[in-house]
Amino acid sequence: MTEFINHSDDSKWDVAVMDSVAGYSPIHVEVEGELLDLSSWQLSPTSKNEEIILERGEGSERMILVKVGDVWWVFHDGNTSKVSVVERGAVNTFDQMGGLTSPMPGKILTVMTSVGESVDEGQTLLILEAMKMENRICSPVDGVVSAIHFSEGDQVEQGTVLIEIDSAE
């Protein structure tokens, strides 16, 4: 069983795949604790390293997949999805409470709050400059700022925790 996170809705999946002569078959698929029966699906790799053919009764569907870091990028039916592989026992970064992460690499232009300040949902906390554009980082909740990890002028990477907020609830 391997755990996955789908990036578009942050849903958590547990999937077990059976290996047979005909290819692969998902024998256990669980999303957010709910079981799905997809055992009739057949998936087969092709001679191309990045291609899988999915068969589920409506003809063959082609998928193109490539792994970058821990993320599988999947192209299927004109759409692209990102699916992370979660290592067993590892801390799931999506579960960390109250941490506001940088949506992209950039420079902190202005910090508009301070530790201990009460903030409202939607309030601008800091301004991040990237690609010569200013982007407002806003509070997702009502709460109190418990930590600010950067100051004005600092460069930050994508995904870095910038500010922590203790939710008022």
């Binding site: 998928m63 192209f75 004109g78 982007n135």
Partner: protein, 513 residues
């Protein structure tokens, strides 16, 4: 270097063109020069070693450094590159130094032919206040607006700001006086938001253009953005090459453009075309340029003139059959225009979609990453202009536009179907792009009906856009790929760190053109 035949009898001869740009526009210009028999010189900085425009050019000069100010924006370094390589003409592309009058002057003073409009014309149009005055004199209709410079104190500036804004009338748009491209632009609905938006616009203007003057104008609600392409030669002739509609925008930047426009009747086309030619003549314009208008009903207002080649120039090229880069080269050599106004008429319909590395589901924030798989669509009626290849990295060093996908078909309906098909085929893995969002715009009933106004995206996706990917299939596919150990050897680094240009994994997977 021998001169190509076409230029042998021209007043201003040149044989080797330095392209002071990068990415897709550098590639576009290099290709135009090659087809005209001219030698080409690229420039590149540390982040662009091995980039596509460097490969395409006959030679390239490495401008050391990673920041723009000491490389693509360094006038001295670029002129030195001309001297080193013997380039006797320079094409600035768009962005960077293309609309800097002082650079145009410096290039000419260095004995290098500037493939662009005269410095004076750039200056007149770059200074929005002066441009407005010139337009009023030329009888061109304008949107109400005014320029605001910093006063001695902040409180005086704020007072002046409120006075000017109420004079212009809400809602207002704030934008950098010195620039374009949506940088520093803010929409303000009421006086309460004015001060904060002004300060942000001023900061962005300062950091993007080195000039913090802000321009305030009335926002015309739900207008269309219509622009007219013009060409003027050194003999005083000017023609227009029909309109482009660029109403579909996000963050005030265009993402879909088309030519011609459903909103422009033959009569309106003639009126707008004549107005655009008058604008060009008012500033003694030479070369290719674009006059932008806001269209509301059949009333149009002059917005600005872009004194350069536009990103969206290919739709005009497909519809008129005129190669704008080649015309720029001929005009710079002092030759007259090769066509008359009567020879310009629309042939079918063209649509361009700008492919950005950005997350449409997350407020269109720029995204970075490797182009681990990059397979553009092919087939009938497709033109693809890009400066990247599979294996390259979308980094924060440059603008997030990866490519332009342009389609041409006999009519708008068939152009839409063709664009939807092309976007469906387009595979980019490793960096998040707007391809699916563009497809959803193109197949939207409001788009096919032609209800394209500049607030199209806010109106049709008021709560943001989401992908309708088949999540089950994607997760199960990933699980099987994980189990099977599928991998691609190229560009498996997921970080946005600077790529190591000498890393063999980054170069081996490349398909050189």
């Amino acid at each position: 270097m021998t001169l190509p035949d076409w230029i042998a009898s021209a007043p201003f001869k040149f044989s080797k063109v330095l392209i002071a740009n990068r990415g897709e526009i550098a590639c576009r210009v290099i290709r135009g020069c090659k087809e005209m028999g001219l030698a080409t010189v690229a420039i590149h900085n540390d982040a662009d070693i091995g980039a596509m425009h460097v490969e395409l050019a006959d030679e390239s000069v490495h401008l050391e450094g990673r920041d723009l100010s000491s490389t693509y924006l360094s006038q001295n370094a670029i002129i030195n590159a001309c001297r080193m390589t013997g380039a006797d003409a320079l094409h600035p592309g768009y962005g960077f130094l293309s609309e800097r009058a002082d650079f145009a002057e410096f290039v000419e003073a260095s004995g290098v032919i500037w493939i662009g409009p005269p410095a004076k014309a750039i200056e007149s149009m770059g200074d929005k206040i002066r441009a407005r005055r010139l337009m009023i004199d030329a009888g061109i209709p304008l949107v109400p607006g005014a320029e605001l410079s910093s006063q001695d104190t902040l409180s005086e500036t704020v007072k002046e700001l409120h006075r000017v804004a109420s004079e212009v009338g809400y809602p207002v748009l704030l934008k950098a006086s010195a620039g374009g491209g949506g940088k520093g632009m803010r929409n303000v609905e009421s006086p309460g938001d004015l001060e904060a938006s002004y300060l942000a616009a001023q900061r962005e203007a300062k950091s993007a253009f080195g000039d913090d003057t802000v321009y305030i104008e009335r926002r015309i609600v739900s207008p269309r953005h219509i622009e007219i392409q013009i060409l003027s030669d050194t003999h005083g002739d000017a023609i227009h090459l029909l309109e482009r509609e660029c109403s579909i925008q996000r963050r005030h930047q265009k993402i879909i453009e088309e030519a011609p426009s459903l909103a422009v009747s033959d009569n309106l086309r003639q009126r707008m075309g004549e107005a655009a030619v008058d604008v060009a003549k008012a500033v003694n314009y030479v070369g290719a340029g674009t006059v932008e208008f806001l269209l509301s009903g059949d009333e149009f207002f002059f917005l600005e003139m872009n004194t350069r080649l536009q990103v969206e120039h290919p739709v005009t090229e497909l519809v008129t059959g005129v190669d704008l880069v080649q015309e720029q080269l001929r005009i710079a050599s002092g030759l007259p225009l090769t066509m008359t106004q009567e020879e310009i008429f629309p042939r079918g319909w063209a649509i361009e979609a700008r492919i950005y590395s950005e997350d449409a589901a997350n407020g269109f924030l720029p995204s970075t990453g490797p182009l681990a798989i990059f397979r553009p669509p092919e087939g009938p009626g497709i033109r693809f202009d890009t400066g990247v290849r599979e294996g390259d990295i979308a980094s924060i060093d440059f603008d997030p536009m990866l490519a332009k996908l342009i389609v041409h078909a006999p009519d708008r309906e068939r152009a839409i179907v063709r664009m939807a098909r092309a976007l469906e085929e387009f595979i980019i893995l490793g960096v998040t792009t707007n391809v699916e969002f563009l497809r959803d715009v193109i197949i939207h009933s409001q788009f096919s009906e032609g209800s394209t106004t500049t607030d199209f995206i806010e109106l049709n996706w008021p709560n943001g856009w989401d992908s309708d990917a088949d999540v089950e299939a994607a997760v199960v596919g990933a699980a099987c790929a994980e189990k099977a150990g599928l991998h691609l050897s190229t560009a498996t680094s997921g970080s946005s760190e600077s790529p190591d240009p000498f890393n063999p994994f980054m170069t081996l997977g490349r398909r050189y053109p």
